[in-house]
């Protein structure tokens, strides 16, 4: 019985995973991305031990100190300090916690919500599908940033509202992908077999269909992880993101914007860290897609 509920026999699972790893690690870029992201996660996790200073500590005698390679710089503040004398490196390290966990939450929320709605739409079809797709169309009809901006303004600017807003604008992509995958899989034999075996709606949706639709969703998840980092930073840039003194990268960038001309380090480093992180996630995502999505697999 268990054997029919999944197309692949359990015995081959390890083999599959091995194949996936082989494909994934074949791409050097993907590996670099993975290692970098793992490092950032590690740094974020160990922030209290890694960071040289308390990220909220204001050294009033060291406002806008330049990075160490400048004549006025010192090893005390390797990447310099911000306008109230806080260590930029430490803030970046702690900021990784916020940027990564917010983005992870965004992906989690929009993926769970998207999968649920997408499954409903693809499985039941009919009016359920119509309603869900139309609502998603409405969401997609607005520029995502504008919608997120408005939502944050409504919920009052802050960490949670930024998270919810961005999760909502990402939702339609997951819904559409899941729905398309479910429709594609639904007519397959193993699904029919499972249904004949007496599986209920819930079981069919979550145990039978879902595992076989995961590949594109995982790829989309990495994509939306990187988009989330960018969107949160963009919200921060427009003054609607995570509120200070939280050392979120986008907020750091937005708050330091006025020093673009006089203290470039306060602006450059948060931007650079955002760029690097997003780049590495995307590299990893590329590798994932090559390994998971057979259509995209190199011929």
């Amino acid at each position: 019985m268990a054997a029919i509920s999944t197309p692949a026999a359990p015995g081959t699972f390890r083999h599959q995973l091995g194949g996936f790893w082989k494909d994934f690690s074949a791409s050097r870029g993907a590996l670099v991305g993975l290692i970098f992201i793992a490092l950032i996660f590690l740094v974020a996790l160990l922030a209290p031990w890694v960071a040289p200073h308390d990220p909220a500590l204001q050294d009033r005698s060291a406002l806008l100190v330049p990075p160490v390679w400048h004549a006025e710089g010192s090893w005390r503040y390797i990447l310099g300090t911000d306008a109230v004398g806080r260590d930029i490196l430490s803030r970046l390290i702690y900021g990784a916690r916020y940027s990564l966990s917010i983005s992870a939450m965004v992906v989690l929320i929009s993926m769970c919500g998207g999968i649920f709605l997408g499954l409903l739409a693809g499985y039941f079809r009919g009016w359920v599908e119509t309603v869900i797709t139309r609502v998603m169309d409405v969401v997609l009809a607005f520029p995502s940033l504008l919608l997120a901006l408005g939502l944050v303004a409504i919920l009052s600017p802050g960490l949670t509202s930024a998270m919810i807003a961005i999760a909502l604008v990402q939702l339609p992509y997951f819904v559409r992908l899941t729905r398309a995958a479910v429709i594609g899989e639904k007519s397959r034999e193993y699904v029919t077999a499972s249904r004949l075996a007496g599986a209920g709606h819930m079981r069919l949706m979550f145990n039978t269909l879902l595992p076989n639709c995961m590949a594109p969703l995982i790829v989309q998840a990495t994509l939306s992880f990187s988009t989330a980092i960018l969107d949160i930073a963009a919200l921060g840039f427009l003054g609607m993101g995570v509120q200070p003194p939280t050392p979120e990268w986008g907020a750091m960038l937005a708050n330091a914007r006025e020093f673009m001309g006089s203290a470039y380090w306060a602006v450059t480093f948060p931007g650079l860290v955002i760029l690097l992180t997003v780049l590495m996630i995307n590299l990893m995502g590329d590798g994932l897609r090559d390994a998971l999505d057979p259509k995209m697999k190199r011929s």
Binding site: R60, L63, V84, N255, F259, G261, S262, A263
Partner: protein, 529 residues
């Protein structure tokens, strides 16, 4: 070097096209005007583009000061009972001639009466058009104050007031009191398009309106008939550039010659730039932290003073204003008459503050500090200031939670009598009168409104009420000086700072004078080649 070459190259291209070399001054303005009728708006951005350029008022502030001097009215007298003011108008003032209007007569008393009637007479077509939304006129209570306006002769107008009011004259120098052309607006009414007055203004001012491209630029040219003579520059362009960083770049590139509101952080670099001169003036403003004096334990003056002593204001000046400001001790700025320099500020002394809090029986105090979400002329970054206060107050055992709301919401909630926490806010003077600060922000009448500390203290209130009705400035100053002493003892606010106004302009610009009221005027400005 390349920048200047490029600018010069483009300029040369233009000179080739026009035989006579026209002098053009470009001002990188900070935003789009809401419209061109100064009576219906309240922002400096709109006033810069209207009252300061196209229009004149009956009286005006002497450039660079808040003293009154003649403008359209060459002289005036106040009756002994203070209930009427008579203005004698100049008889040589012409309204501007443009491609959309040619005046048939010079300015006279009818235009003056019309300019106020349109803001107070419910039957006036312009009153109807704006639905009576003359916000500044209403906010200054002009409707209640003016009983009637009488035409004595063609060039004499008499304002009859309902009560003696010392700041009334200064109010007439404010942008909302600009004198419009009755002939032009009547013509528009007859043509059925009165709204055009808000798109293409006609006034008597030094510059006349040429064209406006939304969110991009406004173009003016010198008014050849201006009653003080034609301006030295021929064209004036407002290049709308909302981002301070970008304005700075444009100034350096020579794309504009004057810019307002630089980032305080950039000022140092600007001062070192050979092509730029940075004018500076103390601003006519104050930033403050208003406790809610009706909530425990902030109802005790000792607690408020203790908290004031725990906050390092110099640190705020350094980190938030980048030095572009000075620590405030009084609720009015030092450049204003009646400023009491004898008042001593409570010093920064965390140890004493801790002691005072303990003496007052305050332990484990938790409080909110409100930081406004927007940058204002008196406070470049309220959040950063709040972060500094948070750190300072933590040292005396006070746990601060920083809150913020959307700006409109912030203003509304900050006014509520039962508001929790202290709010960071400030004020920029409208007319240079001390009543405009103390009367608006600290009177009993302002509780639940602009009086954000919800502070109604009889001895103080009596002084400022009495000062409002006197017309002798020396008498008034004495009362206000006394009021400032009481204010300091009671400490409804922590007076934080008076910001410095910086105006970076290019070296070749001459004759620019900083307006203490935060407006920008280009009368008398020239460019040296």
């Amino acid at each position: 070097m390349k920048k200047t070459l490029l600018a010069a190259g483009v300029a040369a291209m233009m000179m080739g096209a026009t035989p006579v070399m026209a002098k053009t001054l470009v001002y990188c303005s900070e935003g789009s005007p809401e419209g061109f009728d100064p009576a219906i708006y309240t922002t400096g951005t709109t006033f810069d583009a209207t009252s300061e350029t196209v229009f004149n008022m009956l009286v005006q502030f002497k450039p660079g000061t808040t003293e009154l001097e003649p403008a359209i009215a060459k002289s005036w007298e106040v009756s002994d009972d203070g209930l009427s003011v008579t203005f004698h108008l100049r008889d040589d003032i012409k309204f501007q001639t443009t491609d959309f209007f040619t005046p048939s007569r010079p300015l006279n008393a009818d235009d003056v009466i019309w300019s106020f009637e349109r803001q107070m007479d419910k039957e006036n077509p312009y009153y109807k058009l704006a639905n009576g939304n003359f916000e500044y006129f209403n906010a200054m209570s002009m409707g209640e104050l003016i009983k009637s306006i009488e035409k004595v002769d063609a060039h004499t107008v008499k304002f009859v007031l309902t009560e003696p009011n010392a700041p009334f004259l200064a109010n007439l120098a404010m942008p909302f009191a600009a004198i419009h052309s009755q002939e032009y607006e009547q013509q528009l009414i007859d043509e059925g398009k009165p709204q055009q007055a808000n798109q293409k203004p006609i006034g008597t001012g030094p510059f006349q309106f040429v064209a406006y491209r939304e969110d991009a630029a406004i173009r003016y040219q010198a008014n050849p008939d201006y009653f003080r003579g034609k301006q030295p520059i021929d064209n004036l362009v407002f290049a709308i550039t909302p981002d301070a960083q970008v304005r700075y770049q444009k100034l350096m590139a020579g794309e504009c010659q004057v810019m307002p509101f630089p980032n305080p952080a950039d000022v140092k670099a600007m001062k070192q730039n050979d092509e730029i001169q940075v004018l500076q003036e103390p601003g006519l403003n104050v930033a403050y932290l208003a406790y809610n004096t009706q909530q425990k334990p902030f109802d005790q003056p000792e607690v408020r003073r203790a908290l004031n002593m725990a906050i390092n204001k110099q640190a705020i000046i350094d980190a938030v204003f980048q030095g572009a400001g000075e620590v405030a001790k009084n609720p009015i700025p030092p450049t204003m008459w009646s400023y009491n320099d004898a008042v001593k500020d409570d010093p920064y002394d965390p140890e004493k503050a801790k002691q005072m809090l303990a003496d007052a029986g305050v332990k484990n105090l938790k409080m909110d500090i409100w930081a406004m979400p927007v940058q204002r002329p008196y406070m470049p970054n309220a959040r950063r200031a709040a972060e500094l206060m948070q750190a300072d107050l933590a040292k005396v055992g006070v746990d601060v939670n920083i809150v913020t709301y959307e700006w409109g919401e912030y203003l509304k909630r900050a006014s509520a009598v039962d508001r929790k926490g202290a709010v960071i806010l400030g004020w920029t003077g409208d007319n240079g009168d001390p009543d405009n600060f103390m009367g608006t922000l600290l009177s009993c009448a302002g509780v639940g409104g602009a009086n954000r500390s919800q502070w109604c203290y009889k001895p103080f209130d009596d002084l400022i009420q009495q000062a409002r009705t006197l017309s002798d400035q020396a008498e008034r100053a004495k009362l206000y000086e006394k009021a400032q002493v009481i204010f300091k003892q009671q400490a409804p606010w922590d007076t934080l700072a008076h910001s410095t106004v910086f105006m970076p302009i290019r070296k070749e610009v001459t004759g620019y004078v900083i307006n203490p009221l935060g407006l920008h005027s280009f009368e008398g400005v020239d460019i040296q080649e």
